[in-house]
Structure formats: structure tokens, C-alpha cells
């Protein structure tokens, strides 16, 4: 994307004031976004993002700058200006760049730039028809199609020089159901690290049908009772609870500064023996996967919690310095606009022994959370909250009436201790995770899980 000699000059300029590490991240991204509403394609935009991020370390100081000026003069100037922030004089020098060839582990069949818009539109209209035909109470359907091809070049003063192309595609479907007085919504948004073949092969009857079914079901739902209940969380996107409740607390971003309840606890028991928690950026074609992270490190399978024992964290190059540890291929950024930091990729709870039927049958009076909305966590305290988009009461070992407006709150470390059943039906769900280095595609996953007790907030009272 940019001549090697220019990159070398920029890396050198970045070290001119004594920094001990410099890095260049060049990004050239093509993106498409098409919106359908009311049965009509009403919005379509495409574009090209292009920019360069330059990073310099000096001990525990982290300097970052970015620009859209790609001239050699502009880049060297930007690097020198950033370098002025470094006050302590070291003697950083750059190693000769060694080009590394990436063997892609994620096969792409239909590259977005070879696909005509009309093909994208055909799928969107088909999904719209399926959702609308589901039930006469489906009142509005919104469908958003996005894809992107992100080309990155990462080079650093240690001699790393690597290029990669990431391709992602997603179809997000939102439905609104109405009974005349009320409006309720349903959502499903499958996505993958894949080309248009993923969209073409999607089982639209399943996904669009589910988006419609959730909205209609919620029209018929009672208010959710509040109080403490055993909560059964279904597989796939249900994993968002552990993404918030413990995933963020295992990121070096908070661990390195002791702002996490999991800091300094490697080797300790943090969960029951049935819980194994893994972050794996290498799963072929999954939404959160990567060949290399945004520092150019190969992604890997990181076991964070094994049979309840804390085994590791997600670590980026900079926080590795503070922690005196190795980076784990977990450094990510939304774009060149963001200084990268440790983030999740595809995070999931490993499958256990129980069948979903056994878990429900074993629950006398509880809540079954079939589909989750999103949530958030305060990483310093571990206090989390998240919304359930489709929930049911569980009575005497059977799924009972649907309920709406359920919010789960609690503390991540404590909730983790209360997992008492783990199912055998692992599934992954696609989501977007917002944190310090921007909004990123991540998978959350799990089999069906039961937590013996969670505080459920609802409108109905106890």
C-alpha cells in the first residue's frame, strides 16, 4: 500500500527522540451499507476509509497519532511531531523489515468487490418477505446489509512487516410487531468473517423467521417479575453475559492497572469446575476471527479459565510491558483512528455434559432467557447489567409464559461462581463490542447455562 522505504523512514522518524518501539498501521478499507425499510431499498452508501496510525513506546509511555495524509513528507512530519511527546532519551533503533507471508485460515469465496449490488438487494428483499409473511401483526421490517474488505499493513521497529485482508459480511434484521396499541421488536443479526457466500447461504427462513417470532411473542408477553431467580441462559448469543461479566475483566486493558477483580489471580479458582472459558481468534470464518491481530501477531486459542481455574488474560504489546508478560494475539482496533488494546475475538464457554432438556427439567421456579439483548460492565467493579430480549418463566421444570422487560444485574465474579449447570450445545452469536479501541466484531458463545441465582429487574414487582 505504501513503499517499504517510506515505512522505514516513518518508523525511524518516530524513534528520533528516543522512543524504544515504533509501529505503523496502514488501513485501506472498502465498505458497503444498504438499508431496507417498508419493503424498499431506501439507503445505500459505499466508501473507502484510508489512514495511517503511528505508535511509539518509550517504557510505559504510549504515543499514538494518525493521519489521512499519505505523502512521505506528511507521514514523516506526523511521526516527528508525535515523537516530541517522548521526553526520556533512549536509543531506539529499527531492525530491517522482514516480510512475513500470512497463510489465511479463513477461506473467502465471493469477494465483496466482485458482487453486484443487485445480488445483495435480492437477499434483503427475500428476508423482508419471509419476516412479513410470518404473522399479520408484523408491521415493519428493517434490514441492513453490510460488508467490508479491510486491507491492513503493519510494520514495526522490531522488523515486523505483514499484510492482511479481512472480509466481513452481516445481515441484520429488525422487526416491529403491533397489536394496534403497542409496538414490540425482534432482532437477529448473523455475521461472519466471510464473503458474499455467507449471505447467499444463510438460512433466511430461520433467521428472518426468528426476528419476526420474537416481536410477536413479546406482544403476548406479561411483565417480568423482579427478584432473585435461577436463570437459564440459552446458547449462542446468550454468551454475552460472560462477555460482559468476565471477558472484559480478563482484558489486559483493565488487568495491567489492577482495575479488574481478576488481576493477580492466575492459578486461583474463580469459577466452578464445570466452567472453561476460551477466547479463540482462529475459528475458521467466525465473525470475531482474524489471521493476525492489529499489532500483526498471529491470533491463537487462549484458554482463560480452565475447569474453574484462572489460566490467563488477553494481552496486547503495550500492556504486556506493564504486566511483564507476553502478548497473546489479542490486540485490536476498530480502525487506524484507534490506538489498539487487548480485546476479545470469539469468546465462549466450552460445552459441558447436560442436555438443554435436563437443565430446564431441573429448574423449579426460574427465568429462561432465550435471546439476549446487549449489556455493559463497569470493569473496575465487575458490576454488569444486560437486557433479555426474549424471556420466559420456568415453572416446575417446564417453560411457561413469555415475559418482557427483564434485565439481569449482578457482579461478574460472583455470577461466575454460581454457574451450576453447563449444557452440551455450544453455539456462537455475532455481536459488536464497544470499548477503548472502538467498536469491534466479536463472537460471544456458550452452550445453555444455568446460574443458580441472578437479580432480575422487571416492572411487575416481586
Amino acid at each position: 500500500m505504501i513503499k517499504q522505504s517510506i515505512i522505514e523512514n516513518v518508523l525511524e522518524a518516530a524513534l528520533s527522540t528516543g522512543g524504544d518501539f515504533s509501529e505503523v498501521f496502514i488501513e485501506d478499507r472498502y465498505a458497503n451499507s444498504i438499508g431496507l425499510q417498508d419493503g424498499k431499498i431506501e439507503q445505500s452508501i459505499s466508501g473507502r476509509d484510508f489512514g495511517i496510525g503511528i505508535r511509539i513506546f518509550s517504557g510505559l509511555q504510549n504515543v499514538y497519532t494518525y493521519t489521512t495524509d499519505f505523502s512521505e513528507e506528511g507521514l514523516v512530519k506526523a511521526a516527528k511531531r508525535a515523537a516530541l511527546a517522548i521526553k526520556s532519551g533512549g536509543n531506539g533503533s529499527i531492525h530491517p523489515l522482514q516480510k512475513e507471508i500470512i497463510q489465511p485460515i479463513h477461506h473467502i469465496e465471493k469477494w465483496p468487490r466482485t458482487v453486484a449490488h443487485t445480488q445483495r438487494v435480492a437477499v434483503m428483499k427475500q428476508a423482508n418477505t419471509i419476516a412479513r409473511n410470518y404473522d399479520e401483526r408484523i408491521h415493519q421490517v428493517g434490514i441492513r446489509y453490510i460488508d467490508e474488505e479491510q486491507n491492513v499493513l503493519i510494520a514495526n521497529s522490531e522488523g515486523k512487516f505483514v499484510e492482511d485482508t479481512r472480509v466481513r459480511s452481516r445481515l441484520a434484521m429488525q422487526t416491529t410487531a403491533s397489536d394496534g396499541a403497542e409496538l414490540q421488536t425482534g432482532f437477529y443479526g448473523p455475521g461472519a468473517y466471510a464473503g458474499f457466500e455467507f449471505i447467499e447461504n444463510l438460512n433466511l427462513h430461520h433467521y428472518a423467521g426468528e426476528a419476526a417470532r420474537i416481536a410477536v411473542t413479546m406482544l403476548e408477553a406479561d411483565e417480568c417479575p423482579s427478584g432473585k431467580f435461577p436463570v437459564i441462559i440459552d446458547n449462542e448469543f446468550g454468551g454475552v453475559i460472560f462477555h460482559e461479566a468476565c471477558g472484559h475483566g480478563l482484558e489486559a486493558t483493565s488487568v495491567a492497572k489492577n482495575n479488574s477483580v481478576f488481576a493477580n489471580r492466575i492459578g486461583e479458582r474463580v469459577a466452578p469446575e464445570i466452567v472453561t472459558y476460551i477466547d479463540d481468534g482462529t475459528i475458521p470464518n467466525e465473525w470475531g476471527s482474524l489471521n493476525i491481530d492489529d499489532e500483526g501477531e498471529k491470533t491463537r486459542k487462549n484458554v482463560l479459565i480452565e475447569n474453574g481455574i484462572l489460566k490467563g488474560y488477553l494481552i496486547d504489546k503495550f500492556n504486556a510491558r506493564r504486566m511483564n508478560a507476553e502478548a497473546t494475539g489479542s490486540s485490536r482496533r476498530q480502525s487506524y483512528r484507534y490506538n489498539p488494546t487487548s480485546r476479545m475475538t470469539n469468546t465462549y464457554i466450552a460445552p459441558g455434559q447436560s442436555t438443554p432438556d435436563e437443565i430446564i427439567a431441573a429448574t423449579e421456579n426460574g427465568i429462561y432467557a432465550k435471546y439476549m439483548g446487549g449489556g455493559s460492565v463497569n470493569p473496575a467493579t465487575g458490576d454488569y447489567n444486560f437486557a433479555v430480549s426474549e424471556a420466559y418463566l420456568v415453572k416446575d421444570g417446564k417453560i411457561d409464559r413469555p415475559v418482557r422487560g427483564a434485565t439481569l444485574i449482578g457482579n461478574g465474579a460472583k455470577t461466575l461462581q454460581k454457574v451450576d449447570m453447563v449444557g452440551n450445545n455450544l453455539g456462537h452469536g455475532a455481536g459488536m463490542c464497544g470499548s477503548l479501541s472502538g467498536s469491534l466484531p466479536v463472537n460471544v458463545g456458550q452452550p445453555m447455562i444455568r446460574v443458580s441465582e441472578i437479580t432480575v429487574g422487571g416492572t411487575k414487582g416481586e
Binding site: K40, S44, G47, N62, H117, Q184, A380, A387, T407, N411
Partner: protein, 449 residues
């Protein structure tokens, strides 16, 4: 790049040749500085310069969009090709056109030259002194999980082939600090934010006290029964709820059956204590502007007047559909965005009573000081919300203790009718939403036991 007349005229001319009947270019260029401090040292130091070009044009009566951040000789062909393909798949000519310009524009300034000249060293010194003061404030303050100073400076311009050519500059500075307070096993965070265009207006001692007291005040949590309580929604919590539910006032949403305010203009939708105003030049917000995303002059407007819905937010397209005038609420999030509808500086008009007066009127209730999980726990279409909250128990008109983790739940359309009184303490959030503290008749409160 900004006002690059040669590029501009070339792109507009090429667009005409390619069959676009109308065309517009939207430019943005900005620079920013961001610094975080950790234990006295600079933890991260970021500077940025960026910009891009958004193009849109009418092709066979349909509006196609494209953008690029790589501005070179090839980008004109890229923009035109992409915009054409995007226009081609749109289902119908919806009447959108490029705007020739308003007759008159306000001339408010949103740029402070003095702020632009403050050296980064001075900003760093200020945030370092704040970190030091917060850590020294009380031994129970154990660390800061965020200690940030940042500023920005943005220029944007719209130019089109109907003769419109307008531009604007804006800058601002934001300080954000979050402190972690610990007492035994109990750990709480508290934060404060200050936005300004006047660097000298930041008093480190006042700011320190605000952050530290906020974190410390949450220590000593207690549980209270789960039930419905009267609530004082503090200004910041109220502003975040307003921000979440502001899409209900968008005509784009009513027209798509995505807002229950459809057909409600002229009707009472809130209590008589509630007046909602959008003021594009409000001095307490950093988001002001003299023109909206399609170049329409902005003006101060009352959206809800003493409970009565006066107008929705419109851009030119939604206004045409509803047969009204645009309200100047076309939103273009950046050159990378298409046009939508959104407020600029939306706030609940302040009343006369202090927050303490509102608290004094409650026998057994809750003061809510923060909300979390609004992006997932609040449904702007149904109005239902159920979100995590932080706050205090109020007994006999006094704050008694911080409450353990809780959720509050209700329906926003009912909530608007339950607002009994509005306080005098209007403050804006960084997102451009403002509110005073509100006294709300009742909300369902669930508390962790």
C-alpha cells in the same frame, strides 16, 4: 483539502457528465489531542489529523452516496461510480433534492481561538494536577480508572451545484475522570466530566471535589425493598435517558412506524411541567452549529411546550412528506454518513427548585445518579426500559444511604406523564443532551439483596 476549489469543481463537473442532475460535496477536516494520565505519568498521548469527502448526487431522480478518505486523482472516478451504483438500487424517487441554501444564517461562533492556542503541555499539566489532587483527596480513593483530557477542532463545509457554499469551525475541550473508591471489600467508581471552550474555566479543586465525592458517596451501600418508589432523576441520569429516547421525536421514525408519537403533534404527551427545547447555539454545549447536515439554517425551537408536542424533528425529505417546513434537523454524522434526522442541543427547560428541594419533598424514595445499559435495556420503539442504576435512598426528605446495585423499569411514554417537577440545575452531557434534575411520581425499582 477543505475548500479545495479545483477538486470541487472537477468532481461536480464530472458528476454532471456522468448523468447526475444535482450533486453535493461534504467536506470535513479535524484535528484532536487526547491524553490519559496514570500514576503521574503520561499513559497515552494521541494526536490526530483526519478528513474526508462525502459525495451525493441525484441520478435518475434517486440520491446516491459515496465517500472517500483517500483523496487522489482516482477518487473522483471512485466516488462517481459508487454513488451511481448506490442510486441505481434505490426503489423509488422519494423527492429528495440538493438544497440551494437558506436565505439567512445565524453567525454564532463555535470556535475559540484562545483554546486553540493552549499548548499541549499546559493541558497535560492540568490533568496531572487533577490526578494528584483526586488521589490525595481521601485514602479510600485507591486509583483512577480514567483520567483523560482531550480537545478537538473541526472544520466542515458543504458545496453544491446549486450555488450553496457554506462552512463552519468548531472546537472544544473535555476533561473526564473516573475514580475508584474502596472500603474493605466494597469497591465503587465515581466520575465527572467538564466540557468547555474556555481553558481557564476549569478549576482543578472544584473538579477534584466533584469526582472524589461522587466515588466516595457510593460506599456503604445498603439494600432497600424492591417496589415502586418516587424518584428524583439527577440531571445527568435524566440527560442520558433523554438522549436514548430522543429518536421518538424524529419524523423519520414516525413515518416508518417506529415511533409511538406518530400523529401526536398538537397533543399532550407529557406532564405540564415538561418543556423540551432544541437550541443549536446553547453556550453550555460543544455541539452547536449554524446549519444542519443538508445546509439548512438552524434555529432555537420548542419541541414540547408544557406537555404539548409542538413539532417533530424534520429534514427536508421528512418535512415534504408531512407537508411542513423543515426544522433544520438533518443529521449527517460525518462525510461517511447518509442523511438522517436528529436534534442538535436538546434539553429539558429548567424550573425553579433546587435538586435538594426536590429531594426534600420525598418521604420514601430514590435519587438516581447514573444509568447503565441504556443501549440494550431501553427500547425506543415500545418505550419500555429496564436498566441498571446507581443512586441513593431518600427518607423523610433526606439522602440516607447509597443503594446496592439496582434496576429501574418503566415505559418512557408513561414516564413523561409522571414528571411532577423540574429542577433548576440544567447541565449538558458531552453528547449534546441537557437536563435539570426531575421529580418523577414512581418507577419500579429492583434492588440486589
Amino acid at each position: 483539502m477543505l475548500k479545495n476549489n479545483e477538486f470541487q469543481s472537477k468532481l461536480l463537473a464530472e458528476a454532471k457528465n456522468a448523468g447526475f442532475s444535482e450533486a453535493e460535496i461534504y467536506y470535513e477536516k479535524s484535528s484532536s489531542f487526547h491524553c490519559t494520565i496514570f500514576e503521574g505519568a503520561i499513559d497515552s498521548y494521541e494526536t490526530a489529523e483526519e478528513g474526508g469527502i462525502g459525495f451525493r448526487g441525484l441520478y435518475n431522480g434517486k440520491m446516491g452516496y459515496a465517500y472517500t478518505e483517500k483523496v487522489d486523482d482516482d477518487s473522483i472516478a471512485f466516488l462517481i461510480h459508487q454513488a451511481k451504483e448506490n442510486a441505481s438500487i434505490l426503489d423509488e424517487d422519494d423527492g429528495t433534492t440538493i438544497f440551494e441554501g437558506s436565505e439567512q444564517y445565524n453567525t454564532h461562533s463555535f470556535y475559540n481561538e484562545a483554546l486553540a492556542n493552549v499548548p499541549n503541555e499546559e493541558k497535560i499539566a492540568l490533568i496531572q494536577s487533577i490526578e494528584k489532587k483526586v488521589l490525595a483527596y481521601d485514602p479510600r480513593i485507591v486509583t483512577l480508572n480514567y483520567c483523560v483530557i482531550q480537545d478537538f477542532s473541526t472544520e466542515r463545509a458543504i458545496a453544491n451545484d446549486k450555488g450553496l457554499s457554506i462552512d463552519e469551525k468548531r472546537n472544544g475541550l473535555v476533561v473526564f475522570v473516573s475514580a475508584v473508591a474502596k472500603d474493605g471489600e466494597e469497591m465503587k467508581t465515581g466520575s465527572a466530566v467538564k466540557m468547555t471552550r474556555d481553558f481557564n474555566s476549569i478549576d482543578a479543586d472544584v473538579f477534584t471535589k466533584e469526582v472524589a465525592e461522587e466515588a466516595l458517596s457510593h460506599l456503604g451501600e445498603q439494600s432497600i425493598p424492591t417496589k415502586k418508589y418516587p424518584v428524583v432523576m439527577r440531571h445527568d441520569a435524566s440527560a442520558s435517558l433523554l438522549s436514548t429516547f430522543s429518536p421518538i421525536y424524529s419524523a423519520e421514525n414516525t413515518q416508518k412506524d417506529q415511533s409511538l408519537l406518530k400523529g401526536k403533534v398538537g397533543q399532550t404527551i407529557a406532564s405540564s411541567a415538561y418543556t423540551l427545547v432544541d437550541d443549536p447555539s446553547h453556550p453550555d454545549s460543544l455541539r452547536g452549529t449554524n446549519f444542519d447536515g443538508e445546509g439548512v439554517a438552524t434555529k432555537k425551537q420548542t419541541i414540547v411546550s408544557e406537555g404539548k408536542l409542538e413539532t417533530l424533528f424534520h429534514n427536508r425529505k421528512t418535512a415534504q412528506k408531512d407537508g411542513v417546513e423543515t426544522t433544520g434537523h438533518a443529521r449527517k454524522s460525518s462525510y461517511k454518513g447518509t442523511l438522517s434526522v436528529a436534534p442538535i442541543n436538546l434539553y429539558i427547560a429548567p424550573g425553579l427548585k433546587s435538586k435538594e428541594d426536590l429531594i426534600a419533598s420525598i418521604q420514601d424514595g430514590v435519587l438516581i445518579t447514573g444509568l447503565a445499559g441504556l443501549h440494550s435495556g431501553a427500547n425506543t420503539i415500545s418505550g419500555d426500559f429496564s436498566v441498571a442504576a446507581t443512586g441513593f435512598h431518600i427518607q423523610d426528605g433526606q439522602i440516607t444511604a447509597p443503594v446496592k446495585q439496582m434496576t429501574i423499569a418503566g415505559n418512557y411514554f408513561d414516564y413523561l406523564k409522571q414528571i411532577e417537577e423540574v429542577g433548576a440545575d440544567l447541565e449538558f452531557s458531552p453528547g449534546g443532551y441537557g437536563s435539570p434534575s426531575l421529580l418523577v411520581k414512581e418507577l419500579s425499582v429492583t434492588v440486589d439483596h
